[in-house]
Symmetry: C2
Subunit: 202 residues, 2 copies
Amino acid sequence: MARTSVEAERREQILEAACHVLSEIGFRSLRVSDVAKRARTSTGTVHYYFATKRDLVHAAFEYNFDHSLGRRRPILDAHEHPRDRLRAFVESYLPADEVTIRAWAVWVELWCEALHEDDLQELNERVYGEWRRIMAGVIRDGQDQGCFREGDAVVLANSLIGMIDGLAMQVLLRSRSMTVERMRAVCDAALEGLEREVRHAS
Amino acid sequence: MARTSVEAERREQILEAACHVLSEIGFRSLRVSDVAKRARTSTGTVHYYFATKRDLVHAAFEYNFDHSLGRRRPILDAHEHPRDRLRAFVESYLPADEVTIRAWAVWVELWCEALHEDDLQELNERVYGEWRRIMAGVIRDGQDQGCFREGDAVVLANSLIGMIDGLAMQVLLRSRSMTVERMRAVCDAALEGLEREVRHAS
DNA sequence: ACCGTGTTTGATCGACCAGTCAATCAGCAT
DNA sequence: ATGCTGATTGACTGGTCGATCAAACACGGT
């Protein structure tokens, strides 16, 4: 080895740029040269680390996922009580700040592309599975402690996640009828529904 | 005028083809020649009716919306009771048959593109508004008749719609943890939640 | 200093494709 | 028949962009 490897650093720099460009203009309009420019390097270098544009974007999707998950971990750890935990977790998904909005935008690109690419469907499966696993876990904890109502935790998690995805989509599209505030209200109502009725399931 | 116009017919034929291609391979991979081939015509003809590829795809998005709405009208009309109406309406959005799946796929393309195009955000606003208006109306009717629980009908509609969008997305992505059957179950649970409180009342 | 390997560059190539256009066709009127 | 105009065609052009590559560079070991 003739020099210390810069690979990890450079890859991250490029992937970060790719995510930024993706969130800004989308996969359809994304040019390798855009990513190179954003990463302050050349198209040659981008291709040195990622053989094809497809590889680059797929890696960016994965990078976006890893980062999103990483950002949530401290949020989960910060709360003891399942109710606070779930609330903080849901709150962290509201497209309220720029970082979260960008992450959502990349996410949507992944969805769109995954409709026609099996590899990406698998990535989505991993991601969605992870998220569902975490949320169902928190819900189950809460149920054990008697602070959430009974019912299949997986079904409840799926409902919540589905709702968050769908609502976030509309917020991202700047729908006048679905602002972040409104989304927060709807999520709050859903969470209250989970918390209040501590009896009969169906 | 030297001959009866074929414009309406030809436009529809091309838009139908465009939607089909969109649902099949997405906007990013869509070539004007793909649409022409699917419509059994030439690229020249496609450009005769749609100045640019962008115009074509935007028109296709609108066409997809009009059709989706048109398909729902008879479904709504077929039921008298708000509960049945809402159930049938929600059921009609499950990505269970090919037509509905294709419509959803085009829808996702619209979302994705609309993230970076103001025109399309407006289209989404119209569409989403229409859908929300219909659903909130049914819910309000049900509340007036005492068969749905109380609560802001718009918030309830938004929750339901959001959930449907998010869940449908995962179904489209062939998630193992979110099949159509599971989605139906989750939606049923949500609808029962709406209906429940009145089961034993009045 | 020199070598070897890892890294960077940007000019260049080749493929692809939206959009143009000149030519042609098809229906209707007179 | 003839002329008019809407409709259709597909070859062609101009531009774009992913990917390649030869050359240069940077670092660390010897």
